[in-house]
């Protein structure tokens, strides 16, 4: 049974601006080490820090963020739930394979969400993701 559907669209330019402005702090706040390691597999990745990302990397991070946001919306936790963006780890993008941590995982378990699946893409100026939560 479907328990929730999450949809998100994020501006790639917005993500670039945020990394330019906040760099490593944003990286550490939003993304896990595994997610960041995935970035290094993108061809032509520069050796620079988070504030010096190549276009393909920004696109990748935008997709990750759209997927995280869509997962969050599909689960729809109460506002009081302790949450940080690293509690949703995107292990793969095609198809999206999220792994949950912390109180968000506990809440999803209580809600009986057994499966979160969907897709993410980036085209032109935006990245978009849709995630469906199911009990089985």
């Amino acid at each position: 049974m479907v328990t929730g559907i999450g949809l998100d669209i994020v501006s790639i330019a917005r993500i670039r601006d945020l990394f330019t402005r906040h760099g490593e702090r944003l990286r550490n706040d939003l993304f896990s080490e595994n997610e960041w390691a995935g970035l290094r597999q993108i061809p032509d990745a520069p050796d620079g820090g988070a504030a010096a990302l190549a276009e393909a990397q920004v696109r990748y991070l935008s997709m990750l963020f759209a997927a995280k946001e869509a997962v969050f919306k599909a689960i729809a936790p109460p506002p009081s739930l302790a949450f940080n963006w690293r509690d949703i780890e995107i292990e793969a993008c095609h198809p999206v394979q999220p792994r949950l941590h912390g109180e968000l995982k506990a809440y999803a378990d209580i809600k009986g969400i057994m499966r979160l699946s969907g897709g993410v893409c980036a085209s032109g100026r935006h990245a978009a993701a849709v995630i469906i939560g199911e009990t089985s």
């Binding site: 945020l18 402005r21 906040h22 706040d29 946001e69 109460p78 009081s80 302790a82 963006w85």
Partner: protein
């Protein structure tokens, strides 16, 4: 900004950052404005705002403590109605002062 800004300076600074992070005119950033319903904030805007304020004031905002201070077991509507510009500003003012108080 001075090393130890006063409350009014902090209020003006946070107001400016809300305007810039949410891409809304500063005249719309009034204490009663709800960040999500009125200013149409996205979650990424909230992240941006927190880093802007933390960076300028050299303070750490405990997101969990801030949310908890809105009240327990809120519905989404209750949360939305309480998560206002005025709440954010006064939370920052209060905690900036507390961070710098002698132990």
């Amino acid at each position: 900004m001075n090393e130890t800004p006063g409350a009014d300076e902090i209020r003006a600074m946070v107001t400016r950052h809300i305007s810039e992070a949410m891409l809304v005119p500063i005249k719309d950033v009034v204490p009663s404005a709800r960040l999500f319903s009125d200013l149409k904030a996205e979650s990424i805007d909230i992240v941006d705002l927190r880093f802007r304020v933390e960076g300028e004031l050299k303070m750490k905002i405990d997101q969990r403590a801030m949310i908890d201070s809105l009240g327990k077991d809120l519905t989404a509507d209750e949360f939305d109605s309480r998560f206002t510009v005025g709440f954010i500003i006064e939370y920052v003012v209060r905690h900036f002062a507390a961070d710098r108080s002698p132990a």
